[in-house]
Symmetry: D2
Subunit: 279 residues, 4 copies
């Protein structure tokens, strides 16, 4: 006990300077031995979620479309002592989805958690300029592939007696981001997909919930904060007047996947610093 | 005036037995001389909306995928003295959308109103059994084609100085209908599409709103009320304990297209007899 | 004459309006012979609603706390040829509520419609400065008195076989107006009151709906538009970039009270020019 | 040891937890050394929350209206090795609120967390039978006292540089429980109070969020599950077909009070097993 106290003694942040208050027993890592798939997880929010799930005890399989991104992300997280592997996966391709599931099952014997974060790079512009092709890609990857990826993991979760799915939507599902029409619409669709999957998978003891991040500082969202005027404009709509950090989206995902959330299903949690969403 | 009063004298229903109370002036037909396109309008809710828009003064162009359905619907409404024409239109096809717009412009000189009601026959079954093909068709027709149909009419509305779009979603957008996963999800997407189009089209003086019908007695929804047990189960969730009628969805659409709704945009109105939706 | 009467008498209810309209007759006043109570109706939104209900055929009983305001409003509307009477009513007082109902019943034989618009002048300032007294008054008048006023009219509506209640909330129920904490909270409560009353009164054939106006140009809201900076700030959140007019809130209320809204209950319609509210 | 401490001292805040976790150390108690007030916490959900906050490292001051209940609850939790004290507090009384705050400050030097759970025993019956007195008590305790209790703790939180408030509402805020009108309405009001407090307190680094439990097995809710028919009826609306446990509401509250929720404010999380609420 003393040793831990000393080791932590140098950390100024209030929540770092902890000690074992109650009966001296440490709470178990909430996701100990769980196996988690996270898509689009080599960067930004997906990467932060992967790290957190692993810190909380899970074996995490990360993935994205490029091998070098996978390699870098795996190396980083392994370097932190976490149980992480990775593979290339384009969630829009059936073979890739199957292969991702197979890999997790082969490595770890099953799947308990899916975090579906994959989304196409959003088209920026007017809805009146959006082509069929943009709609197709956006709905394909953001909505259909999320449903199909879930379909792929469910049999594995059933074998384990249950599981947890978290779908990453956006606060733009409620209050549109200007110029990101198809992206926004696809994210609204995910709120519905969450409700529908929750309804259908509850009898299989699989809970399905949703994360709706607000404006988070990632490459993905850089168009909103690279430009100072836009950043100020965006902050105008927030209560917590700063752009969020990827790590700030990670804890809630781990929570929703944990036993602590056993009675939560079909719900969306907004992590948006008070950006207008809904009651 | 007297004649009208007398003619109506025999109608028992409270709202039929009217008289000209104030200053003797009759309120103008709210959609007089407006030109309205309604998709999927030869039957059910779309047909009831078309009739109502025409009764309220609009020139209505109805459409659906089959010529004989178009012919029958046009004949019926013309027989009622309404200004209605029609054409075959598969909203998923670019040429059909263009041709529908062209027809309205040729006949009536422009377009003021679009009611987008088209939707594929829903797949009934488990989400875990839904194929890529079902997702593709559902998102294509219910979401993408709605966006593209709107894109097609907007230039015509701009020429007229503004317009009104009403998108037909469903209460299932909020609270899923069992067994209709992809349909439900596509309807949730339409809530978002409404918000996004409203945001973008407001500067063009085009308002965009959304109707979310509950369980309405149409061929489309017959799976829910053919079977007595299902009907009873459905009623369990309603406050007004009966299935709605298509006509009960029509007045609100006419209203949203009228000048009376000039400060309403981006909103969804649920016509669901009190089925759970949202605050 | 008699023959037409008989024709109408014999037709199925849903088709009555159809036949009338298609026969080339003007659509009848939707609230003809209905008796409507509107509270806080001598000014602003309440006044605009009263005028509209009367224009649409209703006998309207207006009311507010000051005799001279009642007199002026009644004189104005009578001058327009409308069927309007008025009385002083402080909705927070049981005797006043009873007397208002009694007056309507004596004059017109019953009550069909209640529009509950009464609200205290909002406290402007920080929630941290709000005293018990401000909370008491705000919740008393805005919430409790709305419930009790409804309770008072329901027996009269039951005698008529049904009725319609519209509660006036605010878009601030969803997205708070800065500095109006207790007002905002009371308006959120009204969204719930609407749902609860709808649920309980549906078996009595009484529908209960809610209007949520955005920023509307009235004395009440002048704090938001007197000051140019505030007005610009407010417009920043709207899609239709102007402050609304009281008349723009009136049509929807008349609509919700009409037979056209027969399958709509428990719903809130936002009239806010696209101010963020909810999906 | 010292070296690790130094390393942590110099690292950017966001990375502190990462390094610790990846170094193989157990994740620390997330609320270590925090001081938490929980009202109505000697039983049911409030008690489960208190236990959890204490297990997660907080010093918890519990309270309710009866000394013997306070004594029993404190004894139980102390018996589990938790840091818990308690006092009688009727949240409707200004002196009691002051005294509760004073006690926490005296004992622990300040306040970081408030969980406001107090509510009157709900009136069961028709809204048409609700007296002024029932409305008064319900709005007083459930809404006004929540606002005033928050007002009381905020100055203490400011002294600490920030804090976290969690308000306990109910899924009935969205979808009314039959027969509990005033309770339901007061819980809807709390959704609004959450948004309003979040908006106002964000500049003080105080986050305000809300828990909306569904049907949870407590004395409070026994009317819904004592009777088998009612329990079955209730389950009909859930996706997870069982009544929730108080503990299932506790983790999310601890989470919302922790640093992990640093970008979450103004949000309501439903813990309802999939009971219809909202998107």
């Amino acid at each position: 006990m003393l040793k831990v106290g000393l080791r932590l003694g140098g950390c100024a942040q209030a929540w770092c300077s902890v000690r074992m208050a109650s009966a001296g027993v440490t709470r178990q890592k909430p996701l100990a031995n769980k196996v988690a798939l996270v898509t689009a997880s080599t960067d930004g929010i997906g990467f932060a979620i992967s790290r957190r799930l692993a810190q909380d005890g899970a074996h995490v399989v990360i993935s994205s479309r490029k091998q070098k991104n996978v390699d870098r992300a795996v190396a980083t997280l392994k370097g932190e002592g976490l149980s992480v592997t990775g593979t290339v996966c384009h969630v829009g391709k059936a073979e890739d989805r199957k292969q991702l599931v197979a890999m997790a099952v082969n490595l770890h014997g099953g799947i308990d958690i899916l975090v579906s974060n994959a989304a196409v790079n959003p088209f920026f512009g007017n809805l009146m300029d959006v082509t069929e092709d943009v709609w197709d890609k956006t709905l394909d990857i953001n909505v259909k592939a999320t449903a199909l990826m879930t379909k792929e993991v469910v049999p594995e979760m059933e074998k384990r007696g249950g599981g947890s799915v978290v779908i990453v939507s956006s606060v733009a599902a409620f209050t549109p981001f200007h110029g990101l029409g198809p992206y926004n619409v696809s994210k609204t669709a995910l709120l519905g997909l969450t409700k529908n999957l929750a309804l259908e998978l509850a009898p299989k003891n699989i809970r399905v919930n949703c994360l709706a991040p607000g404006l988070i500082k990632t490459n993905f969202s850089s168009m909103f904060w690279m430009d100072k005027t836009k950043e100020e404009n965006a902050k105008n709509f927030m209560q917590i007047e700063r752009i969020g950090k990827p790590e700030e989206c990670a804890g809630i995902v781990s929570f929703m996947c944990s036993e602590d959330a056993s009675y939560i299903t079909g719900e969306t949690v907004v992590v948006g610093g008070g950006t207008p969403s809904r009651l």
